[in-house]
Symmetry: D2
Subunit: 210 residues, 4 copies
């Protein structure tokens, strides 16, 4: 495919990422403005690089003309949360808009089912309608929802995997596993803090209701 | 209404303005990326200030609880074009997405029907669905479409009207009228250049087709 | 020069444009926040495209290794004003920071000395220190200061010149000249409105001082 | 102090935060563009809320007219890194521009000297010259440099401290300490991964030099 054609193909994905970023950032702004706790800490987005699209197509044996129906993460949104619990609130918020401004196509729960690499995250595949200057176009997008600790680990794992491709040295692989455990531990400590805080609030409210 | 309540009321309007700005800016980006002429030069947006909402409500005798159904420009988007012709292209682009991501409610053509003040612009009132963290909410928004020259004049007229309220001195009113004419003249000169350019292109293409 | 080298050369120019845009936009924000009239209406910036740099280098016979010392508008900032008078206020603001965060190298007054094409604008060439991750680097930047009407005309003239290169048809050239006159007329009408407004304010203040 | 005066006081701080954010984000952009590893992961900034300034002034017995000389974190920039090692690279980058576009006034190393609360971060107090529309003004700013894990913990600690003020329940304080340890552990695991990776690179380069 020539550069100008790639541009034409990727434009609606860029537009979708821009729109979805604004939309999910608005959710956070709303909670903050109302002095409520926001389950969303921050939001990033990206369109997959052409080289990565090609690599994935080759690996999965996808012909070039089927890329748009078969590769579901050309548009990617990442939503970071403080607590594991928040992830499930974000999932509910997204499901509540199913068949409104987006359609939820699939969910992949890598939190309950941690990947063998140690990767944890909740993925939702959506279909999203983009209004272009040349008409409407429905595209796939992947939303990844994760805690800051999951994100931290995944960022580093990704850059190492990218560096070593298939040949990650065994000692580094082992280190990564230990780091995944440390990240998991941090999330657990945080969850316990959260519960403790909620318990304190309740007992405080019971007292003041006496 | 208390400040915290105003915040709650205005939040979806802020969100709508953010989303609509991104959406219309994308249209421009798309044309530019494809090396096509963009009928959109730039896009701005704003949520009406609380003081201006109150002023308008009082002037039009609208009770506070009906503000959201009766004041249609709490959310405002402004789209600037180079040529008068472009305005009609933008109108078509917006109409093409009617009942997709927005609903067109009303159109007011102050270009054919210049206001007595000299004001020229094309207004579209739309309904827009905002997905908040607490559910879907449909709001009104006003889209103003105008040339750079129309915008230039309107900006200055607005600040003078704001300064003098009902008591604009007669000599300044006369000057404003002359400036409105100068702005109109500029748009006409531009339209003629545009036609000349198109004519040249056609005759050039005919020649190269021989 | 290879792509990766161009990137390396242009990076500090991109950084300078980002910084200068923020800096001049801040000036506007400041006036607005203090409820004072802002002489700056809006600010844009761009880094010259590689193809345009090469074209200019060829036309002016500049060898590739002297591009950075000889081409002074690789980084460009454009400041738009409502009134011609505002341009001179902006010039004063920039001169006041000479030898603080920038150095003024040269000024070109195409307002008093309109170009034969009809082009009007005030240009300032500055030197600006960029702090990169690899140390300090001083680069040239060009600041263009103009009214909205000047900008409007220049935008169109630029796209036509780009379209026709050296061969602009005579009738279009004539149309452009007429449009330049219309833009000039609009600026004059605006200046007269402004004076009228100021006169009204003075006589009003004299009255209230009686 | 009245609202309008607060605005006037805080304006240069807002401007400084905007400028410094752009400047440090540029550092990251530069590394990324050159395909080099960026020691900066992301950058945030904020101006202290008026209520927090007043609270700090009262607590530290600072009279209102000395706020600007005595409170050094009215403007705050936060730089997040992946690895503890990166923090020291960022410190070097900042020191390299000392007496160029900023002046380093003080450094506080809460990484070597962890606070009793468990807080870890590297703080630099700088003086920064802001060019306002009304002349130059030097202000203080605080730069906090930390890993993602440090930031994660600090964010939660801050919201709990804000919630409980002086009366944080003992069990929650204990939980926070355990979380601080978990965050520290995660940073250590990450540092070891990093070293392992560097070692692998070296042995690889030695081999390829044979």
């Amino acid at each position: 495919m020539e550069m100008q054609n790639w541009k034409r193909v990727l434009l609606p994905y860029n537009q979708a990422v821009d729109e979805l970023k604004v939309k999910f950032k608005s959710i956070r702004k709303e909670f903050i403005a109302l002095d409520e706790y926001s389950p969303i800490e921050f939001v990033t987005g990206r369109v997959k690089k052409i080289s990565s699209i090609l690599e994935k197509a080759q690996k999965k044996n996808i012909p070039l003309e089927e890329i748009e129906e078969k590769i579901e993460d050309i548009a990617g949104i990442r939503i970071m949360c403080q607590f594991v619990e928040d992830i499930y609130k974000v999932i509910d918020i997204i499901k509540a808009r199913d068949r409104k401004d987006l359609v939820v196509v699939e969910e992949r729960d890598y939190i309950t089912n941690t990947k063998s690499s140690g990767y944890r995250s909740y993925h939702m595949i959506i279909k999203y309608p983009v209004q272009t200057g040349h008409g409407e176009k429905w595209i796939f997008a992947e939303i990844q929802i994760r805690t800051l600790a999951m994100n931290f680990w995944a960022t580093i794992e990704h850059s190492l995997r990218y560096k070593y491709k298939q040949n990650m040295p065994k000692n580094i692989q082992e280190r990564l596993n230990k780091a995944a455990e440390a990240a998991f531990l941090l999330d657990q400590e945080m969850a316990e803090i959260r519960e403790e805080v909620l318990k304190c609030q309740e007992s405080f409210q019971e007292e003041s209701n006496l």
